[in-house]
Amino acid sequence: MSDDPRRDVLDAADRLRWDLPQNFRDRWVEQTYAESERLASAYVRQDQPSRRLAWERRLDAFLTNRWTGYPTMVLMLAVVLWITISGANVPSELLATLLVDRGTALWHSLFAALHAPAWLSGLLIDGIWLTTAWVVAVMLPPMAIFFPLFTLLEDFGYLPRVAFNLDSTFKWAGAHGKQALTMTMGFGCNAAGVVATRVIDSPRERLIAILTNNFSLCNGRWPTQIVLATIFIGVLVPSHLSQLVATSAVLGIALLGVVFMFGSSWLLSRTVLRGEASTFSLELPPYRPPRVLQTLYTSLIDRTLIVLWRAIVFAAPAGALLWLITNIHVGGLSIAEYGINALQPLGWLMGLNGVILLAYVVAIPANEIVIPTIIALTTMTTAAAVGAPETTGVIYEFSDQNVLKSLLVGAGWTTLTAVCLMLFSLLHNPCSTTLYTIYKETHSAKWTTVAALMPIAFGIVVCSLVALVWRALGGS
């Protein structure tokens, strides 16, 4: 005992502190919660019965049953994709006619009337306007259909049941069941899929969902797959089977993407993401009638327009870049040709060529313009330009696939090129819109870099292996 009684009290308190429960703070918080719960249930009257209604129970039992739940999910996904694809065709063509054909002609006549120099109209119209108009025409209609449908299912309460059904599968890969939803959203647009990962409230699982969303074949890449499968894969079999084989090839690539998504989720959760905090919870909200108009409005504003705006912001500079590298000549060669020559060895190793790799560099802003860019660069480098426009560095598409094929075969393309390009289209860096979104969502340059480099590393390895085996087996 010292002379200072205050000191004695403080010393006693210090000694007694050690006798507190070790998780004393956790218990304290727990008791605070418990007390609030007790107060709330004593003084707050609930008008709604907290019990689930009989029809809700029956619907839940049907939608989450082993035998009925999975087929329902596949059916729903098929219906959504079918409505999107068949519904987007007409408005897409309308926009293409309006913006790409009429709009470009209109701008040209306007610039001609103003006696604008050729380089200015080339850069602004053939470069920036055409590329941006293209991206809008290809992207807007499917997104304007796909996202509202998705939101309606979410609003009704079906999507949380899908996450519930698939959770054990995703758990194996160290991921959250809700990643099933962000993955599906990625089939529409990876940038929207990344934004959608906000529904995952666990930091580690959310990062996994963000970093692997790119393995969902997006809206901008489906056309590449379909065109290549049709003109290179479908023709390998008798014509009555070609449609089936081409479709299977495209679906095979999409499924391969799902395999890569699971594999890389598994890998990430056990390596670089081990240290991130993790938790799990999944609320199954009560079913409610979807509010159709409100859904249309919010999904148009929140998802479609934001994603579209970002795409435009990135597509415009890409258009300018494509025009500039094909039209600026240094020492007799265009910048594009220098790029193609530099990338040719790596392209050959991966079963591709320099043109394709350069097209992917130019098309980082938007996957939609990969095929048009390849065509533009190929016609520039080969004399075999059939029906190509007079200006160079302009993106356009062939309506006749036979002409396209003869152009590509003339430039040295083989079945191997097509197969490797289909693989590379799945396994390459996300577009700049998606990368920017990843940066906005994670606030981390590190994770953005991982998101960019991981798929491209997979792509280089997979394509090189395929090319190696193919050539070893005597293919060309």
Partner: protein, 296 residues
């Protein structure tokens, strides 16, 4: 830096040895000459080493940094328990006093690390040692765990999986040649002698009782109603606050609403909401069955 690490490791080794009543000959400790030169240790005569006051204080600060960092890893990150020691061991030599105090403040000045070891205070205070091994208790004895040793890792893994953690209550059900059978964390497990040796226990506090009717949420069956008793201390940090946010708090009433297609996850009806939880969570939530008539 390598020099500091060597010195601090030697100091900790010496502190641990002396603390458990062993003697250390200066010839056996790698950098004993440096320790003596730095006036952290001195020759106690006959070739054995003793710590100086400065040496003891320094050793306690290194231990404080180590245990605080382990606590930080346990509460704020997702690193598994078998990595805490290695990471803390690497970091403890790089932290300065200010960084250590920042960590302590951010964690709310914790007193114990996740294994139940006391964290020396900033002025080097430690509680007197207490408790004793699980294997020294008689059948029927009920108490609480105060420390779980994490070495060797494969034995610790089994204990953690079974729900052994500081402040968890247990009761000895039987002892025999096949090991010690214990009722702990809502179920009954039999520990080998090696596993039991890792667990230090103390008596229950005056306000505590051992309740054998407590079970784990994963053992609840369809149609039964239960009341939450507690969440295991093994659920920490974000995972813990998320459960509390969802209404998994002592006194909450819950029933099973729905099972996933493969049996997992399981959705529970809790406070009017349907929440799905995974098995690794439901085996860490302690409940008590309620008669259906009690269900509010």
């Amino acid at each position: 830096m390598a020099e500091r690490e060597q010195l601090e490791d030697a100091l900790k080794l010496l502190y641990d040895a002396l603390d458990s009543g062993e003697t250390v000959r200066s010839a056996d400790l790698p950098v004993s000459a440096e320790l003596v030169a730095a006036e952290l240790a001195r020759d106690a005569g006959d070739g054995t080493l003793a710590l100086t006051d400065a040496g003891r204080e320094y050793a306690l600060q290194v231990i404080r940094a180590h245990r605080l960092y382990e606590t930080y890893l346990a509460h704020r990150t997702g690193h598994p328990a078998d990595e805490w020691h290695r990471q803390a061991h690497a970091v403890e030599h790089t932290l300065d006093a200010e960084a250590v105090e920042d960590i302590a403040r951010a964690l709310g000045d914790p007193l114990y690390d996740p294994h139940g070891d006391p964290i020396p205070t900033a002025d080097g205070q430690l509680p007197p040692p207490r408790g004793c091994g699980l294997s020294e208790r008689p059948v029927g004895w009920a108490g609480r765990i105060i420390h779980v040793e994490d070495e060797p890792p494969e034995l610790y893994q089994v204990l953690a999986q079974a729900g052994f953690a500081p402040d968890v209550r247990l009761r000895i059900e039987a002892t025999g040649t096949d090991g010690t059978t214990v009722r702990v964390a809502g179920h009954t497990v039999t520990l080998s002698a090696g596993q039991a040796a890792l667990v230090q226990c103390d008596g229950l506090r005056p306000d505590e009782v051992f309740d054998a009717s407590v079970i784990r949420l994963r053992d609840l069956r369809e149609g039964e109603t239960a009341e939450v008793v507690s969440i295991s201390p093994l659920v920490r940090g974000l995972a813990r606050s998320r459960l509390l946010d969802l209404g998994v708090v002592p006194g909450s009433v819950l029933t099973i609403a729905l099972r996933g297609p493969g049996g997992q996850p399981v959705a529970y009806l809790i406070r009017g909401a349907t929440i799905a939880l995974r098995e690794e969570q439901t085996e860490r939530i302690m409940i008590r069955r309620r008669a259906a008539s009690e269900a509010a």
